[in-house]
């Protein structure tokens, strides 16, 4: 097994490189992704190696970035679009919802909307406004799209390649606060399918489900809880839409208690979906209602107080306490 240690940023970079090596039809497009290598340097060096025709520095207009990627898809290209920050995907929302999500259907299957929209998402980097949002629920709600998120360098490396190879359009959510954390990457074997959830830590009392940056927070919460005698199972959803409910339900059948963690506000969120689905699937096994620990229902706050907005270990443990104490 050829594993090597690298950051998630580097793993994404290597994954993109490998996908471009494999398939000449793979293009990258986005703002500042060429010489600058993107504001997070995810595309560092790729324009130099693959040329300006394959790594396209885009004029500053997100609707056009996605809209032209659609045209390129119709022409048979596979474009990996970089949205510079989560808060800047909304100008492209119309193209994503009305075109990207629907053109395969509208063309009776003739058009392959094989494009990947990479979005550095979630908070935690002390940024200014619009740089810390969690827009995944908007895309999960939209029929025709798929939404995934990586939480480790190994997943980042493989998931980006799987996403590029996949024939449906994929919203690829990258937890920007984890870009610089290192991990082992297996360069030979992909760990699992793009839409598979995975149990990151086994436990018996409570199931925590989340994705992206929340996975590490959940693992820390589990660690703390184990010191207090509570055994927590941590599920990394990985695929936000569709959800891998089998893995989640299996965990819940065991623990009977559910807490979902997400940075987005809780109304009509992915967390709502997980709770609603598992309440149905595991009706008799649930020993307490499924709870959600989410961003508060307010605009993302100035980042000096973002730690109180984002689900913290404390807030997760508080919810764990509540599900543990429910029957008493």
């Amino acid at each position: 097994m050829a594993t090597t240690t690298m950051t998630m940023a580097k793993a994404l970079n290597e994954g993109l490189r490998r996908a471009m090596d494999k398939n000449k039809k793979v293009l990258l497009m986005g703002e500042d992704i060429g010489k600058l290598g993107g504001v997070f340097r995810i595309t560092d060096g790729l324009q130099k190696d693959f040329g300006e025709d394959r790594v396209i520095d885009a004029p500053l207009a997100e609707s056009a970035i996605v809209g032209t990627a659609v045209g390129l898809a119709i022409r048979g290209y596979r474009t990996v679009v970089e949205i510079q920050f989560d808060g800047f995907v909304y100008p492209a929302f119309d193209q994503i919802v009305s075109q990207v999500a629907k053109l395969h259907k509208r063309s009776d299957g003739v058009y392959t909307m094989g494009l990947v929209i990479r979005i550095p998402f979630q908070g935690g980097i002390g940024a200014i406004e619009h740089h810390s949002e969690s827009p995944e629920a908007y895309f999960a709600q939209t029929a025709g799209l798929r939404v995934v998120s990586c939480s480790t360098p190994n997943d980042a490396y493989w998931m980006i390649q799987q996403a590029i190879e996949h024939d449906d359009p994929i919203i690829f959510c990258e937890p920007k606060s984890r870009y610089w954390e290192k991990g082992e990457v297996d360069l030979e074997n992909s760990p699992r399918g793009l839409f598979d959830a995975v149990v990151r830590r086994e436990g018996a009392d409570v199931t925590l489900i989340g994705y992206g940056a929340s996975v590490k927070t959940m693992l820390r919460a589990a660690e703390t809880a184990s010191g207090e005698g509570v055994s927590i199972e941590v599920v990394d959803a990985r695929s936000i839409a569709p959800l891998d409910l089998d893995v989640m339900a299996a965990s819940l059948e065991k623990t009977g208690r559910l807490v979902v963690v997400q940075e987005a506000p809780h109304t009509a969120s992915v967390g709502s979906e997980i709770v609603a689905e598992l309440s149905e699937r595991c009706f008799y096994s649930l020993r307490a209602p499924g709870l959600r620990v989410s961003g508060y229902h307010v605009p993302y706050p100035p980042s000096r107080i973002e730690d109180e907005y984002r689900p913290s270990v404390d807030r997760i443990l508080d919810a764990v306490d509540r599900v543990m104490g429910f029957e008493s």
């Binding site: 293009l27 609707s63 996605v66 032209t68 119309d94 009776d108 003739v110 449906d168 569709p242």
Partner: protein, 355 residues
């Protein structure tokens, strides 16, 4: 309203007129063929309106008045070119060889597409105003990367010209020197909005502000539309970059069969434009210059009638789709929620099973 700069090769009376930069290259046969296209397009369009009145269509978007714009542009296209239409380009669809019944699927509400867009090199209809302009530019960027001599046509109306997507597509086309022709049919109206609401100056000027040529052509003059569009496409194919062609024309009918234009425009305006009818002026030319006889015109009309009848039969034969088809092609790869929907529908007895 009509600009000094308007390119015209045939007057409303059907008389040829000289232009400094353009000359008609069409033979008598070719002009006749276009006349036929226009008559058929109009006839089929009228059939659409009447089928809608009879409750056989959910909606119809008439093209009457815009036949010259569409046939001129449609015939200027090469087989290698690719078109991104809106919902009203029936004349261009005709030129691309798409069976008329297929354009009607959307209006009969049995499909959201209707034909194989790759086969005809004519994309599925775009209803969200302006979205397609960006697709056209992106497709054109693909053409560039393939090193191929093809042009791409983006169709939109005067109303859609205000949408951010159309305007961004201008930025991109200029920035990448994309082989695209923006074919804007300024039919003076966007539902009830006069084109003056979208621009106080002639629309084609807009292109120049983005750094590529815009040109206004008499959209009711099929000879002029053909030459202007053809040159723009040729220029795009050989790396000359984008052009905006504004076909200055008129929507003679309602916006759609749901619309009531008497609420917002006066008859006098419609009357003025009747004198500029795109079909009549070609007919006059053919009669005078090429001595085409009435009997020949009658033959064309009869052919159009026959086609319309055949179309009507085809459309009426389009049954309600199996509801199960809603799950087909929602995704390219298997999806659990789609499977769940299918199973539920089978369980409900709505459909016999997978389509």
């Amino acid at each position: 309203m009509i600009d000094e700069q308007l390119v015209q090769l045939l007057t409303p009376e059907g008389e040829r007129v000289a232009h400094a930069q353009y000359v008609s290259t069409l033979s008598g046969e070719e002009v006749f063929a276009m006349y036929r296209d226009m008559v058929i397009t109009r006839r089929i369009c009228n059939e659409g309106t009447s089928m809608q009145r009879q409750g056989q269509l959910a909606l119809w978007a008439p093209v009457q008045g815009q036949e010259a714009a569409q046939i001129g542009a449609g015939r200027a296209l090469g087989p290698q070119d690719f078109v991104f239409p809106t919902y009203r380009e029936h004349g261009i669809a005709w030129c691309r060889g798409i069976p008329p019944r297929d354009w009607f699927r959307v209006f009969r509400a049995v499909s959201t597409g209707g034909w194989d867009p790759q086969k005809y090199r004519y994309s599925v209809p775009t209803v969200v105003l302006g979205n397609q302009a960006l697709h056209a530019v992106g497709y054109a960027m693909g053409v560039q990367r393939d090193g191929s001599e093809e042009a791409v046509m983006a169709c939109f109306g005067d109303g859609a010209s205000s949408q951010g997507d159309v305007l961004e597509s201008f930025v991109w086309a200029a920035s990448f020197n994309a082989p695209v022709v923006f074919f804007c049919q300024n039919n003076q109206w966007g539902i009830s909005s006069p084109s003056s609401l979208q621009s106080k100056i002639p629309l084609y000027h807009r292109a120049q502000g983005f750094g590529f040529p815009g040109i206004r052509v008499d959209g009711n003059d099929v000879l002029a539309v053909y030459e202007v569009t053809k040159r723009a496409l040729e220029n795009a194919r050989v790396g000359g970059g984008p052009t905006m062609v504004e076909a200055f024309t008129y929507r003679m009918g309602a916006h759609t069969t749901s619309d009531d234009p008497t609420r917002y425009r006066v008859d006098a305006e419609v009357e003025v434009w009747k004198h500029r009818d795109p079909v009549e002026r070609v007919k006059a030319l053919l009669a005078r210059e090429y001595r085409v006889k009435n009997v020949t015109f009658d033959e064309v009309a009869a052919e159009a009638d026959a086609l319309a009848l055949e179309l009507r039969d085809d459309v009426l034969a389009m049954g309600r789709p199996d509801p199960m088809t809603m799950f087909d092609n929602a995704y390219a790869a298997p999806h659990p929620l789609v499977d769940e929907g299918r199973s539920e529908m089978i369980a409900l007895g709505v459909s016999g099973g997978p389509h």
